[in-house]
Symmetry: C2
């Protein structure tokens, strides 16, 4: 393999100059820079990441930790992050953090988590860390802080760490208000169950926003109108089945905390012979790629942009070297996208 020495010889300069020229630093004359670049190109020289890291302390690599991979939202965030990183010449190292939901064990006893925080992250392999929808325990947070590297949380509340997230409560309120504005008063909500609370705070935030809207509109809340599911299509389907089959409630609209659950709700309604939006309006959250296909009204939270944005914050922090340029939490934009799954409720048939 060609090393910097060869390039230096060919260009007739020292290795120090080659290093500086290739790093795009100032204090290299334009003429020299051109010569070095030509030499490097001719030899097909590419810096050795290991040597560069060791000498400089920078790796040009960012770690991304995600709890889930097989869900559109997460992979889309990941995609945005990887694109943004690649565009800046950075690598992305992917860490998967199983959360075994339902388990009562503290995370510290989950070997995969221990391995990640005590071993992988301590190897000084990453310049920064992007934590997606992650809730960490104290000990884990300590490990992260020990890294002394930029960390950004996306979506999850990480104390002491700058976070980016959409305003879940406001989004939920907007979604519910959309239904209320259409004339609905019997509005159900499908959201997270307590097991999920462990890692995502959003379920309760979204439920709060839902209740905010009802209260503001003077609509009484009804516990039976709130069902929990696991954010998947199947989960949303099942929850909707339970909801529509319960004789004690008569929802005309459903606000699902994710598009996948909303899609499940649409499928369930159809299977029960109810038309959407005629018999049941459905609204979700995410901006799922299948939203258009299902005609789903939703609130787009631009996940790919979230990934990109998080990387930008991280890279800015790396480049500047300053500790915490961002305030505690920054809200990301969201947009109501009205399609065909919501409409005014059917007029009440009085019998």
């Amino acid at each position: 393999m060609t090393k910097i020495q060869k390039v230096a010889e060919l260009a007739g300069v020292s290795t120090a100059t080659v290093s500086r020229a290739l790093a795009g630093k100032t204090s290299v004359s334009p003429a020299t820079r051109v010569r070095v670049e030509a030499a490097a190109k001719q030899l097909g020289y590419v810096v050795s990441a290991a040597a560069s890291s060791l000498a400089s302390g920078r790796t040009r690599n960012v770690g991304v930790v995600t709890p889930i991979l097989t869900s559109w939202f997460y992979t889309t965030v990941l995609k945005g992050a990887q694109r943004a990183l690649a565009d800046s010449g950075y690598d992305l190292t992917l860490y998967l953090l199983d959360t075994n939901p339902g388990s009562d064990l503290p995370h510290a006893s989950n070997p995969r988590r221990r391995q990640l925080f005590e071993d992988f992250l301590q190897r000084k392999r990453v310049d920064a860390l992007l934590a997606i929808s992650l809730e960490l325990e104290q000990e884990e947070l300590d490990h992260v802080r020990r890294l002394d590297k930029p960390v950004v949380g996306l979506g999850g509340p990480l104390p002491g760490v700058p976070t980016l997230s959409v305003d879940d409560r406001a989004i939920a309120r907007l979604a519910t208000d959309h239904l209320i504005a259409l004339g609905h008063t019997q509005i159900a909500h499908i959201g997270g169950n307590p097991d999920f609370e462990l890692d995502f705070h959003l379920p309760s935030n979204r439920r709060d926003g839902y209740e905010d809207a009802l209260v503001a509109a003077g609509i009484p809340t009804e516990p039976l109108m709130v069902r929990s599911a696991d954010f998947t299509i199947a989960g949303g389907y099942d929850a909707t089945l339970q909801l529509l089959g319960d004789p004690r409630v008569h929802p005309t609209a459903v606000f699902a905390a994710s598009d996948e659950m909303a899609i499940g709700a649409i499928l369930a309604a159809r299977d029960l012979g109810k038309s959407v939006p005629g018999d049941l309006s459905v609204i979700g959250i995410d901006g799922h790629e299948l939203g258009g296909f299902f005609g789903l009204t939703t609130i787009d939270q631009h996940p790919e942009a979230q990934g990109r944005r998080a990387v930008e914050v991280l890279l800015a922090e790396i480049e500047s070297g300053s500790p915490t340029p961002e305030p505690d939490n920054t809200y990301l934009p969201h947009d109501l996208v009205v399609r065909k799954s919501t409409s005014a409720p059917a007029p009440v048939v009085s019998d």
Copy 2:
């Protein structure tokens, strides 16, 4: 940060011994090993990846290149790969390779691809490379070969590189035979379009298997029964709409080249008022997590196991240092999973 020097002092040995003890090598007495491990633990010592790589030439990091991220199959393979790697103490660096399908430009002019092959992969950051469903151009293959590192292709035909894949032709034949055995003779196929051929060879393999089965059963092939789509739910939906709306053909069964397209087919049939499997049997390929939900008969190709398996091959090659232990291509197992989307065709109504 604690470095190896500190550990050596605390344990009362040389850094060489610490290195050997922690690497689990022989030629360290059990007593010393224990002492070193205790010292390392007490100090919270973790090797510096950069220093270790530079000195040893090994990075404990594997690059994974995938063309798509927002598809269940790919993320599931990725999940399997990352788990297997983590279990062996390896990192996974994720590279996303856009293929801008439909573009006529050679890959070499795609800046993202150039960047990957000429820059990222040459940095000596990875010990091995896992290429998922990738077809490379000559120049790109040369770059990969220059790496002189283990490479395994998963699903795509990579000349000169050991590959793992399911036997697409056999799978397609099995799927079609399943329909034939149920009594179907009017069997449609939804597969890839030529644009996709660029990167995945499977579409034509699967179509070949489909035709093999028809020919073997003495059923004439009918071009109008073959439709192309982009492997997504929406694509499968649309293709099925076209298929069922065409008065020139009357399929009683559809074999879709992916579960997502099969799901789209089911949804399309429903929207047209046809029952599945009563009016239309549907079978897919993949083993998608939603298969159970939709009652989809499919051929499971165990994608998570594929990712795991590919990593095992790669790691074995790394550890052994031998060049190409695997033969050119190894077939991975698949299983027919019969659910409720396939049945015998309705008896023909003669009028």
